[in-house]
């Protein structure tokens, strides 16, 4: 008697589901990305070529729910070839999202996410990385509250960019480590949009727990308190600013130590579509170094700080400026109108002149003379174009000139050609 009842129950559930889930939609595709890199430096005997190819298969399904809600299932898996590794198969995204208007309050929409997807804190510099977790957001007209939790220990080691400690970095190229560093993340963000003066403000708290299970290993737990703002300063002039206070607890062999660090930054963008789609930008970033009052700032994943020179965001100041223009802006041809030329300049300085800059690559060992803050400047030129709806390309070149205070450092050139095709 139990089996027929189970069958009836299953059929009822399917029928109920079919009634609730109406108007399905879906799509799938393949994207191919290729990046060819050329590096040249006096430190190299010859020019160094690099190649990275990524092929990804993605799919998405969509349902409309009763009550005006919706649900989406999206997935993406990829194969990557690079000079370091002949093959890497990975699941980049596996996410279930749903929207539920009016469930909690008639004026609010509840958004739920679960699976593997991107997590980001308000500045985008401390954490901007995929992880496996859940997130719930309640969105009102002028306020949004978001709560999330995630785990990074199931990310493949070659794919994980969670590198906070020396042990994490030592394991980065270790083929014996199958999964990346284990971290537990918890996040709460509150965003106030539509404030007077066309401003928005986001306050966020992010906590990170190091779950490395070796008692003798160095572990680092950290918390980040961020206040970020964005909006119009004047006509065509926009800003994006943030300040992040970080508290840290380092532990090794039963001994623990606490620390405090600070990061802040601001960026201005001046947009003039009537000047051939021009964009002028200027910015400043600061991340504290080990000193009397503050400790070295530690991000959860390394953000991009430059093109040629990529120091980690710790004990660092970056002053930057840039200009981008689309000479054929407004042209009837969508291809021509999308071609953009850009140039940028970045000056790198260390925050504490008695602590080194840290980073990877050829310039990892960049040493500055005692008392010297200025490390060098980077010049970047790029051409980007969405040639066709499914074909994009970008040519980026950069030159890093170390300062006179840099010991035995040589200029370094980098060129990179990127092509992307969607099938």
């Amino acid at each position: 008697m139990r089996r027929p009842a189970a069958c009836v129950l299953a059929l009822l559930l399917i029928a109920a589901g079919a009634r609730v889930w109406a108007q399905q939609g879906g799509d799938w595709g393949v994207t191919l990305d290729s990046a060819t890199t050329l590096r040249h430096s006096a430190e190299l005997d010859e020019q160094e070529w690099g190649q990275r190819v990524r092929a990804a298969l993605w799919g998405e399904l969509f349902w409309r729910l009763d009550g005006g809600g919706s649900a989406t299932l999206s997935a993406e898996g990829s194969y990557v070839y690079s000079d370091d590794r002949d093959y890497l198969f990975d699941v980049d995204r596996l996410r279930v999202s749903s929207l539920h208007p009016g469930v909690i309050s008639p004026a609010a929409v509840l958004a739920l996410d679960a699976g593997r997807f991107g997590f980001r804190e308000p500045s985008g510099l401390v954490l901007n990385h995929s992880a496996d977790g859940v997130r719930a957001a309640l969105r009102f007209a002028g306020v949004a509250v978001e709560l999330g939790g995630a785990y990074t220990g199931l990310l493949l080691n070659p794919s994980s960019q969670i590198r906070m400690t020396a042990t994490d970095r030592a394991e980065e190229d270790d083929d014996d480590e199958y999964f990346g560093p284990k971290r537990l993340l918890g996040q709460l963000n509150v965003r106030f949009g539509d404030l007077p003066g066309r401003q928005s403000v986001t306050a966020g708290v992010l906590a990170q727990w190091d779950l490395r299970d070796d008692d003798e290993a160095f572990t680092l737990n950290s918390q980040y308190y961020t206040l970020a703002g964005a909006g119009a300063v004047a006509a065509n002039l926009y800003h994006r600013s943030f300040v992040t206070l970080s508290t840290m607890q380092a532990e090794v062999g039963g001994e623990s130590e606490s620390g405090t660090a600070l990061a802040l930054g601001t960026g201005l963008r001046y947009l003039r579509e009537d000047w051939l789609g021009s964009r002028l930008s200027a910015g400043f970033r600061y991340a504290s170094g080990q000193g009397d009052n503050l400790d070295g700032f530690v991000t959860i994943n390394d953000p991009a700080t430059g093109t040629v020179f990529q120091p980690w965001l710790t004990n660092l100041m970056i002053i930057s400026g840039g200009y981008a223009v689309r000479p054929w802006f407004g042209n009837r041809s969508q291809t021509l109108s999308n071609i953009e030329f850009s140039t940028a300049l970045r000056a790198f300085l260390r925050a504490q002149d008695d602590q080194p800059l840290q980073g990877g690559g050829l310039l990892a060992g960049l040493n500055l003379e005692e008392g010297k803050r200025y490390a060098g400047s980077e010049f970047e030129w790029a051409i980007r174009a969405r040639l066709l709806p499914d074909l994009g390309a970008a040519l980026t070149t950069g030159l890093f000139l170390p300062s006179d205070g840099a010991v035995d450092a040589e200029p370094e050139f980098l060129g990179r050609l990127e092509v992307s095709v969607s099938l």
């Binding site: 108007q23 399905q24 939609g25 879906g26 799509d27 595709g29 998405e60 969509f62 009837r332 969508q334 969405r386 066709l388 709806p389 499914d390 074909l391 095709v421 969607s422 099938l423």
Partner: protein
């Protein structure tokens, strides 16, 4: 004078029929192939405003061939409508769209032109209202104001 009155009356009736057709399309929760054909052709004056949806399909297929395998009364997907719009108005195509006339590539190409906006899956049904909005954006794109 009688002829003039008859012409005025027929123009009024035709206009009323066109408005009726547009009202019907606007109210349709799922637009049909016939409604799509009517919308494409009546705007260019290739069919009379009092033509039926079946007649519109016949005229459209004479011009474009059987791009979509549908009867006049069948509901149309967004991808199928995007393909009809792209081919009929000779809108620019992407790399894959130039090689293969497929609804999913048509949606991507029109999304790139911002003619299709919002959530846009090739196999989703579209309402008459959305079909009209897409048609309006095509005209705006052709005018260079999109």
């Amino acid at each position: 004078m009688v002829l003039g009155c008859l012409l005025l009356l027929s123009a009024g009736v035709a206009a009323a029929q066109s408005n009726e057709a547009l009202d019907e399309i606007l109210a349709a929760p799922e637009a049909t192939y016939g409604q799509a054909a009517y919308l494409l052709l009546v705007g260019d004056g290739r069919i009379e405003e009092d033509s039926s949806y079946a007649q519109a399909v016949s005229v459209l297929e004479q011009q474009l061939g059987a791009l979509v395998q549908r009867a006049a009364g069948d509901a149309l997907t967004l991808g199928e409508f995007a393909l009809l719009v792209q081919v009929y108005h000779e809108l620019p195509r992407g790399l894959l769209g130039s090689l293969v006339s497929a609804p999913r590539y048509a949606v991507r190409d029109l999304r790139y032109l911002r003619v299709v906006q919002g959530r846009s899956y090739p196999n989703m049904r579209l309402s008459g209202e959305r079909m009209l909005r897409i048609t309006g954006r095509v005209l705006a794109w052709q005018e260079g104001v999109l």
